[in-house]
Symmetry: C3
Subunit: 470 residues, 3 copies
């Protein structure tokens, strides 16, 4: 069996001069608290503080980074625990875990492998690499630990040294878990909601009308009109802010924001309710909604996180059988400079407005995001996201964005994960990658080591706190 | 004169730690046999086993990688042996060779220079770099060797340690050379046909009708109808498979595949024969044909290689004077995720279907090809192609694709060459580039060296054999 | 206070082997004269040879690389000396300079920081990094030096070792400053005009009619017709050539060149004068003008520099308050292969025609510019421009372009600056970056060091002289 022992110098540069510098820079930030301004952990997990489920339920089935590559190697999603046509997966937790262990070699060189190595070793004390042969043994070891008090969600939250954890929540959510956590004298962590209004953007979506209903119920404002929808969203943004929220998140297919005249927006809203949308209506409405979210952000100061450009559920049959978020969301080519022109013209220099841009298309870093963040005070270059949340891509991101925007107009790391136990590994990866990049600048005499150390700390804690108004 | 002595460590990383690892990894794979699943060598070359022509005819005139850069420096194609308006080039073989030698410095830093250094040294025993001064001497040395039995095509095939060589063939080809080779007890190599139906895709092409005629003759199936064309193609695919073919190749301007209703396809087919194509007809027909080729691949299991996105014959005057494939084919911007959606929805998880994607636009590696190969079991990320078949681009490809798709969903190296004598140099370049990339992961403690060595072997022989069903 | 002492090895690779090679290569070129074939220094500056203004006026206010990033950090452009609504900035020179010094940390890792460090140290003898604390002291030190004869423009021109400096000039310019300089026995430098006809391209521009008037006055040719405009432009190109000009420059939103029939161009010209442009007219006219400029270049041999793909004045309110060129020009996605097809079909192999392509979109280097320069004798790959005129991007440019086009089809460095005192720092950066790239090839045994040294010299002086016909 292969030993699993993450090396203390992993991801640091090979060159001895650079590595020595990177080690020192990393040492400055390795122990700093984790600020997580965007992710998908459920607040109830920490409120309830119940033991995690089995290893498969915790680590494999819900993590589409894992399931997608196993699927690419021919493992059906049903064998990985994903419910098919509503029926629970016939695979047992042990079988699911065994599939993962048997496929361990497929992950060589990927960030998933990297995260898992750190997570299995540091969080679960595993010292052997997964394999078909030791799958059962590892399963038992992890399951055993999960049953202990040290592995309860709150204990891990403390151990992970998380200062702030932002969740992602529908505007209709009552945020009860967040409220309970805040009121709980036994929990000192900060768990904040993030307002994500995606369900209300596109009137052609089958879920739009039902979502309006839930939002009306939550806000006690009639969402039967466009004006009502805007009022309800404003109301809920304030509600989120009162519950500690400092930012919103929006995932749309394109970054285009274009206002509609109110009457036209009302017309489309009514048509959507009546099932009589005309061609182009839904797109116009969605672009207007993005504009209105920016407008609201320029008024209430919730930081606007924008995650555009993902083609959702590329494979219709998988969507039909296994539902959304099952690994076939795929990157689209990205654009920001033209699509955001109207929003930035109207709000770009407004000091209340703040916009963090994320992309799954690397080509926009040097061409669009860096230059936008290098002029507009409101714009920040978000960390590489999803498919490019990797050591290599972080290096390319820094190289591309720093030229135009320096370090100070970047958000710091965003883990964007639903895999709670991977949070430390992901942040650690980013800290190492930043230390590596900065070490290159120091070794190339573009930056003094003192200044590099200050920047490393800024990127890790200072900037996330400031950018997201935490 | 400058010595020509390719260094044993060429292309390996400069850092001593990485270089030492890379050397060991390279040593594991340097001597492995060559698997060449896509290229343009003529099977008759090996069947006939006649001596190669002169050095210019062998190394310069047919190699558009060479002629294009000399042309860019003002050397007319006619001076490089390319027939003009059907008339043979007035330049003698010695003059052509001398142009190349005089232009040697133009190739500094390019992959052509790299291939030639290895090829001239290792295959022809040349120890001085080409120059205007030694052109005649080198010509004589090469010509002399070409006249010896050691330089007959089959002798070189053995010496190059080629296990499989796939050719590229029109569906109407009778594959006589392949059949003769397979039947020849004196030849133990594997030379396989590849089905390339490009001529039948676009009914607006001037050559379409004549191609239909040849296909009808070869298949004995009437191609006057669309249904007949499909039947004839199916028939020839089976014929290719019976002659050892395991894959097809398709070069189209875009990757879009969209089925037409049969009646509509028949209408366009008939209109094309009648010379009455309506606007848009040809594009719709071509997109349907790409879909049908995928459909056939999902039935007969021939691996589908897709090489889209090259603008053919950019310079009309050069096309008119010197014909196609004369160095002015140029890369277009690429896309796969949207264009392939229909094909992948219908066949993407079909275990019989297999699709290898190639691009000349690097931006799609991390944005499209990696993520597609990281979900769809059928999709493999093809090696960097043509303009980006270079040591640097291979490193960027690995960095971009591995993040989403790991190593196991990549095809391994494809030489795609018509320059027979360059095959070992090209594969060797790829092996060095892969060893260099893997060494970086090992030195950065992302991968153990044992696992890296296994991956290096997989990329070199195991995966090409498996991916292309050899 | 932090010392400011640019390291002799800055920007050279960290690896000791590569660094040693890079040092030797850099030593070969560090002292070579500066050839600047494209920039925005005013010829009158050298003609008049008056002392420079204060440090803010010289180094901060006119440099939109500097002001944009300070603006991104919340410093209003008015505080940086930029006139608002025609009224002079209320900020004093000392206040402007202090804003820059206070914002010094924002530039960490950017090329602006790099240029300034070299410039402040080498040109002005500053040995402490700017900070809020020492702003006044540095201001005084620089202001004091600017008052001495050693800091007069011509003295710096000599000290900078500038062999050729090309300016950018409107066709209607009388080039009096250039003429006076050429006639001045006390000045031996070469200061050449560059013909930039951007104002005449787009008949929808508000300045078009007035520009026609000035051109008519300068040329004594009636520009009321399209034929007249072409004749006037031809006349002025000849005038520029007589004043030493060897090239033109064109900045357009896209590289598309498509000829119009003369009657159609005349119709649009007349419509524009009459204020009756139809939709699409302006674009068609502009594309035709680009084609005509290429046609003229193919006749008179002025080298055509093309700088497309910048979205000008993205933020309307800033344009209204502070005017153009104030930091919110932003990169568009680029394309060359398709847009230039007609121009290259008609003139691409004409030996009189020469075209240098520049981009702010890195993705086109390997996909379009390298391959075009690797076939068309007329096409040269221009150095990375504006947002990507940085050490990192130069490395990526060389990696991308060399594969297809080698070194010999690149222009050499272009500073494109209006910041006269930054010229040596910028060229030095490029020389270091090229030395670093070449050292990598030498260490990887792709290139001998002798040949690399020759290439380094070629890139620095030989090629700029030849490419721009100097």
């Amino acid at each position: 069996m292969t030993a699993l022992s993450p090396h203390p110098d992993r991801l640091l540069p090979s060159d001895p001069t650079e590595r020595a510098i990177a080690r020192r820079l990393y040492a400055e930030i390795a122990g700093l608290p984790i600020i997580s301004p965007h992710g998908h952990v459920d607040a109830a997990l920490l409120r309830d503080n119940r033991p995690f489920g089995d290893p498969a339920e915790l680590l494999i089935t819900p993590d589409h980074y894992v399931t997608r590559l196993l699927h690419a190697h021919g493992v059906g999603l049903g064998r990985l625990g994903i419910a098919e046509n509503g029926a629970p997966s016939p695979a047992s937790a042990r079988e699911i875990w065994a599939e993962f262990c048997a496929g361990w070699s497929h992950f060589a060189g990927t960030p998933v492998r990297y995260w898992f190595e750190t997570e299995l070793h540091d969080v679960f004390g595993i010292t052997r690499a997964p394999s078909a042969a030791n799958a059962g043994e590892l399963y038992d070891a992890i399951a055993e630990r999960l049953a202990t008090p040290e592995y309860l969600p709150r204990a891990l939250f403390e151990r992970f040294n998380i200062e702030v954890l932002a969740t992602t929540d529908d505007p209709a959510d009552d945020l009860a878990a967040h409220r309970d956590l805040a009121a709980d004298p036994g929990f000192s962590g900060r768990v904040l909601p993030t307002f994500r209004a995606d369900r209300y953007m596109d009137p052609a979506e089958s879920t739009w009308i039902a979502a309006l209903g839930r939002l009306a119920a939550a806000s006690d404002i009639d969402t039967g009109s466009y004006a009502g929808l805007l009022a309800a969203l404003r109301d809920r943004r304030a509600y989120f802010a009162r519950h500690g929220g400092t930012s919103t998140d929006t995932g749309v297919i394109e970054a285009t924001g274009e206002p509609l005249a109110e009457a036209e927006a009302e017309r489309i809203h009514a048509a959507a309710l009546a099932g009589t949308l005309a061609p182009g209506d839904a797109v116009a409405y969605r672009r207007n909604m993005l504009y209105r979210l920016a407008e609201m952000a320029s008024q209430d100061g919730l930081v606007m996180q924008l995650h555009p450009g993902v083609i959702r559920s590329h494979h219709a049959a998988t969507l039909a059988r296994f539902g959304p978020d099952t690994g076939h969301d795929l990157p689209d080519s990205g654009a920001f400079t033209r699509p955001l022109r109207r929003i930035l013209n109207d709000f770009g220099v407004n000091p209340t407005f703040r916009l963090a841009l994320f992309t799954v298309d690397e080509t926009v870093f040097s061409r669009e995001i860096g230059p936008l963040a290098g002029f507009y005070p409101s714009v920040y270059a978000g960390a590489p996201w999803w498919f490019i949340d990797t050591p290599g891509a972080i290096g390319r991101y820094r190289a591309a964005v720093t030229d135009s925007a320096g370090f100070g107009k970047t958000t710091g790391f965003i883990d964007d994960t639903r895999a709670f136990c991977s949070i430390p590994a992901r942040h650690d990866m980013s800290r190492r990658a930043d230390a590596a990049f900065l070490a290159g600048l120091v070794a190339g005499h573009q930056l003094g080591e003192d200044e590099a150390a200050r920047i490393a700390v800024d990127l890790t804690v200072t900037q996330p706190r400031e950018v997201f108004r935490l």
